[in-house]
Symmetry: C2
Subunit: 251 residues, 2 copies
């Protein structure tokens, strides 16, 4: 399987919903995605980093198409269809599959200990992921403990950057750990008015530099959602409205 | 690194707590464990299957020793110490590390698609894991949805057994998927009076046979907790008492 240069991927296809037919499989690797889903973004980032050619089938997660469970048994995104009817799902599983099947630019370190530590780092972001969901969907349940676990996780990542002494967690260019935790850093940028979660430059100098470097990475920047759009999208959850998945098509 | 035959592992060492000194490292692979922890059991099963020689340092998770965070940044078990001060944690990460570092008996399939599907299977047990915790710790929060998600997960596993047509999920002997989901099946056996979760032989014929086969596997049977002891241990949570970790030493 070869990576394709000069590829053009349409990330902003309409989100298919109940009643919409399954687009015919055309032989290209396909990602069942939701444009704003941080988990599906992991798969997209791995595909982008490896310069794999693929197509995006966006899914309306509120009103799911009937055929979604034939692609992903848990009816979730991401799922990748690697041959007609052969699908792999769960974000980290898809990325490890891609890293096995497309060795062009390896994302996971080969050394077993380094590889394990990259995965530990991804697990370490659990409190970041759960605080993000709580703020959007269950703001009344956020406690001081959640905020303090969140900051411990940030400190752990900053410590890792310090210890590794490299521009990215995985070296001179981003790798597995970098891409797998990135979606939450991209989203945290829009909470810059929330003092509880703000990634403050005085306490998190190295982390702020790192986030700036990640923003410049091509795999990240080609899929980046403009800050204002992301804020608008989050607002749907905060105000209990049905999310409008087509914001990027209405620009 | 070689597996050692004729090894003797003491699984039931006293659970160390706050104030207890860290046992000096003796060069042997060490597992920071809790005798009843289903996650730590994953690591133990992988070590047993590979016939690796190791020592168990059991941890009192209610009153944790001060040095635990130097072994596991999140102060959880399992953690494995592979050289003095070099530790790997998070259950699935430890097992994948062991599979990389000790290739004697591989647990994960080599084929990237089969490997991905083994991991998907493990993820599929999420509703089983969460229902188990809810029944023990938050019985009032169990809803019909949780019960139905639990049965969907059981059906998914039984379907996989059917489709694969092998004695174990991973073939003629248990592998990654089998060992990583086993701890919950071992524990579910003691809920045989709870009709909501009972694995009924008429609906789950293949699954019941599978569980019986797993019970006979040496890696499983050498670490198996007697049913009555497990019931007693669970009762501590159900009745809101401090768990007594030393039940197996008081026999």
């Amino acid at each position: 399987m070869a990576a394709v240069a000069g590829r053009y991927i349409d990330f902003n296809t309409k989100h298919l919903k109940k009643g919409d037919p399954l687009p015919p499989y055309n032989g290209k690797l396909r990602v069942y995605n939701m444009r704003y889903c941080p988990y599906a973004q992991r798969t997209i980032l791995a595909l982008n980093a490896k310069q794999i050619d693929y197509e995006v089938v966006n899914i309306d997660l509120i009103d799911k198409p009937e055929w979604l469970t034939t692609k992903s048994a848990f009816a979730k995104v991401p799922a990748i269809e690697i041959a007609e009817g052969v699908t792999i799902y769960e974000s980290l599983v898809t990325v490890e599959y891609l890293d096995d099947a497309y060795p062009e630019r390896t994302l996971l370190p080969k050394d077993p200990v380094k590889k394990a530590f990259d995965k530990i780092l991804v697990e370490a972001t659990g409190p970041i992921q759960s605080l993000f969901i709580k703020i959007l969907k269950f703001p009344d349940t956020v406690t001081d403990n959640h905020i303090s676990a969140y900051h411990k996780a940030l400190e752990f990542i900053q410590e890792q950057l310090q210890n590794r002494g490299t521009k990215f967690l995985d070296g001179r260019q981003p790798g597995f750990a970098d891409y797998m935790i990135w979606p939450w850093f991209e989203r945290l940028r829009v909470f810059d008015n929330d003092q509880r979660v703000k990634i403050d430059g005085s306490k998190y100098k190295l982390l702020v530099e790192y986030i700036d470097n990640m923003l410049k990475d091509p795999a990240v920047s080609e899929y980046l959602i403009p800050k204002e759009i992301l804020k608008q999208f989050h607002q749907f959850y905060i105000s209990g409205q049905r999310p409008n998945y087509e914001l990027l098509n209405e620009l």
